[in-house]
């Protein structure tokens, strides 16, 4: 029975941009007027049927939506439990769910008359999606990317450059996603008049967490319809990986008020949750704090200094998480569990060999959660994974981890 009315978990955020304790607008004054303008522009756009129609048109003809819901037959037989389904976001144009959000935000940027786009990226999937929409809409694009990530996601750096974006490596800190976001915020403060910041995940100051969720919630909405059509009911479990959490919130949102559907978020467990600063599982291993415009779970030390975290996956290597996930964690509506680098690598190989689908390392974390879950479920039950991205960008780094001969 679906939950409705005031007990709905889908009402957030409130007018202050809060999901319970989490979210908010913790930004410098320079950005505050812009954030308020952005919120107003987004409200106007949301109420404009032409805006929705344009997104719909692009989703169909540019992104290639709806993405298929695929029954993974061999994987199901191998795991020996629940039926395993894949929501194929990796088949979207640019190879991940990130394009859903970028198209929405670039249209908003144009409505606001902005002439320059900036973005941060970890794995490069969001950077590629941003560079893509900027090429299509003829806007200059600057992507901030940690120097460590530039090295481990080189194919995506080339793609961004070919698409006409300028990639600025960030050497501060550990040179990963957190540092890229700091640098993007510094650029934004400096170029606030002309520049629109396309944040890639469902985090940051209000209204970003809400806006990114809305642009990504097409994943769960489609999934729900497709599964109903295939099986005549809702799935017993839905799984997604969580870094900042944009594919996860987009997948979960349609199911939040369906208590019979269990929801699982796979966090980056890195070397193991027990290893000090050796993981990026902010909810399992962090505590609430304020960073990058919102209050949320953060990896931090006893003095409130933010830790770097670690994950084999550049896209999950972030010490925070979107505020709506923090809220769903506290309310226990979603179960968040850490997946280690090793478990993700095993899942990566399994899907590749069993189904002929090379997943992104990020999505492989979600798959590892499915591998734990499916065998404990009945054969007439179903678990759906949001396969958020494809793994082409990861073949080199996975090959290295597996000790493959890189010159053969």
């Amino acid at each position: 029975m679906a939950v409705s009315g005031i007990n709905s978990l889908r009402l957030g955020p409130d007018e202050d941009g809060r999901f319970g304790l989490y979210g908010g607008r913790f930004v410098a004054e320079t950005l505050m007027p812009l954030i308020l303008d952005l919120e107003k522009a987004y409200r106007d756009a949301k109420a404009d049927p032409a805006f929705a129609a344009e997104i719909q048109h692009l989703a169909t003809h540019y992104t290639g939506r709806p993405s298929p819901l695929y029954f993974a037959e061999r994987l199901t037989a191998h795991l020996g439990g629940a039926k395993v389904w894949l929501k194929r976001e990796e088949l979207n144009h640019t190879g991940s769910h990130k394009i859903n959000n970028c198209l929405g935000q670039v249209l908003l940027a144009k409505r606001m008359g902005k002439t320059r786009i900036i973005a941060e990226t970890g794995a490069g999937q969001h950077g590629v999606a941003t560079a893509t929409v900027c090429a299509k809409f003829d806007l200059p694009c600057i992507v901030f990317m940690g120097a460590t990530d530039v090295a481990r996601q080189w194919p995506n750096v080339l793609r961004m450059k070919m698409l006409g974006a300028e990639v600025r490596p960030v050497t501060a800190g550990a040179g990963t996603l957190k540092d890229a976001m700091n640098e993007a915020l510094r650029d934004w403060v400096t170029n606030v008049e002309t520049t629109y910041y396309i944040i890639g995940t469902a985090a940051g100051p209000h209204p970003y967490p809400e806006m990114v969720r809305d642009f990504q919630s097409v994943i769960g909405t489609e999934l729900k319809e497709q599964f109903l059509e295939a099986e005549g009911r809702l799935p017993e479990a839905v799984v997604a990986c969580v870094g900042g959490g944009s594919n996860a919130i987009g997948t979960f949102h349609a199911f939040l008020d369906e208590p019979e559907v269990a929801l699982y978020g796979a966090e980056a467990g890195g070397y193991g949750i027990e290893v000090d600063n050796g993981h990026a599982a902010s909810m399992t291993g962090g505590r609430p704090g304020v960073l990058h415009g919102n209050r949320t779970y953060l990896l931090q030390n006893a003095d409130g200094q933010i830790l770097e975290g670690h994950s084999i996956s550049a896209g999950l290597d972030y010490p925070g998480v979107g505020p709506e996930h923090a809220f769903l964690h506290d309310t226990k509506r979603v179960t968040y569990a850490p997946i280690t680098d090793q478990e993700a690598l095993e899942a990566f190989q399994l899907l590749t060999r069993m189904e002929g689908i090379i997943p992104a390392l990020e999505s492989a974390h979600g798959l590892a959660q499915v591998m734990k879950l499916a065998p404990t479920m009945d054969k007439d039950q179903s678990v759906v994974l949001c396969l958020s991205g494809r793994g082409d960008k990861d073949v080199e780094s996975v090959g290295r981890h597996l000790g493959m001969d890189m010159n053969a």
Binding site: D16, G24, R25, F26, V27, A28, E29, T30, L31, M32, P33, L34, A172, G173, K178, N182, L185, R186, V189, T190, N191, V192, E193, G289, V290, L291, H292, G293, R295, L298, Q300, A302, D303, G304, Q305, I306
Partner: protein, 273 residues
């Protein structure tokens, strides 16, 4: 009277702007940082901003980022920063001290515990970069209740429509950020700064200090003509950085900061001559 309004009033009586100096607590090490802090009033600083280092200083340029990094690497904690103020107060009961930084370390310390400890240590004001007026309930309201000034940044993007909301809970002085940008960048339009100061003063009786991008005694004299105070930070933390040998303080570190402050103090005294 809180030390901040008293000091601005004294500078106004002397017909000159106040020199507000920023240094990073714990940079490059606790002892040297204490010596730098203790030496600021004699060198001519009227008001002191003491930076609370943070791992992710999103509004700061490279110089202050590096200063914070040096302090954290040397083990600086928020408790130690409060202890520095306490130590300073043993010999100086007059010079206002404002703690400046980001919210998370305070949030983790605990807002009530922090406000009480700051008051007890002799802190007069707070500037918290990532707490805009919209988040006043977090720290601004408790700080004001304890008698600690909450100094707000206003920027070129804070228009007349928004200014009243920003000024509502501001006390001590108003900090006008001279540009849209990060600390230490170049000021784009000098004439616009004077206009902005006039505009803010039409909304408030509080003193208005100008900061971000002020580097020399000549800058201090120029921007101090219309403003009630000028804020200097990046050149001071750069002086610390440039004085180091392999990351360690040298015999010249404390003096390097003192000399620049002395020079800037001469600048503010020429502002209205």
């Amino acid at each position: 009277m809180n030390r901040i309004p008293a000091r601005f009033a004294a500078c106004a009586a002397a017909n000159r702007p106040a020199l507000v100096t920023f240094v990073m607590a714990g940079d490059p090490d606790p002892a040297t940082s204490q010596a730098i802090l203790d030496g600021l009033p004699a060198a001519g600083a009227d008001v002191i901003e003491l930076g609370m280092p943070f791992s992710d200083p999103m509004a700061d340029g490279v110089a202050i980022q590096m200063a914070g990094r040096r302090a954290l690497d040397a083990g600086q904690t928020l408790q130690q920063t409060l202890s520095m103020v306490e130590s300073f107060r043993k010999t100086d009961g007059e010079t206002p001290i404002i703690l400046m930084g980001y919210y998370n370390p305070i949030y983790i310390f605990g807002v009530d515990a922090f406000v009480a400890a700051a008051k007890a240590a002799g802190v007069d004001g707070l500037i918290i970069v990532d707490l805009p007026a919209e988040e006043d309930e977090e720290l601004c309201v408790p700080a004001l209740a304890a008698g600690i000034n909450f100094i707000r940044l206003t920027t070129p993007t804070t228009d007349d429509r928004r200014l009243p909301a920003v000024l509502k809970n501001t006390s001590g002085f108003v900090y006008y950020v001279s540009m849209t940008g990060i600390t230490g960048a170049a000021i784009k339009s000098r004439a616009a700064v004077a206009d902005a100061v006039r505009r803010i003063k039409s909304h408030t009786d509080l003193p208005v200090a100008v900061g971000f991008g002020i580097k020399t005694a000549a800058d201090a004299a120029e921007f101090g003509r219309h403003a009630d105070g000028i804020v200097v930070g990046t050149v001071l933390v750069d002086a610390v950085g440039n004085s180091l040998d392999n990351g360690k303080a040298t015999g010249g570190t404390v003096g390097a900061v003192r000399d620049i402050v002395t020079d800037l103090a001469s600048g503010v005294r020429l502002a209205r001559v």
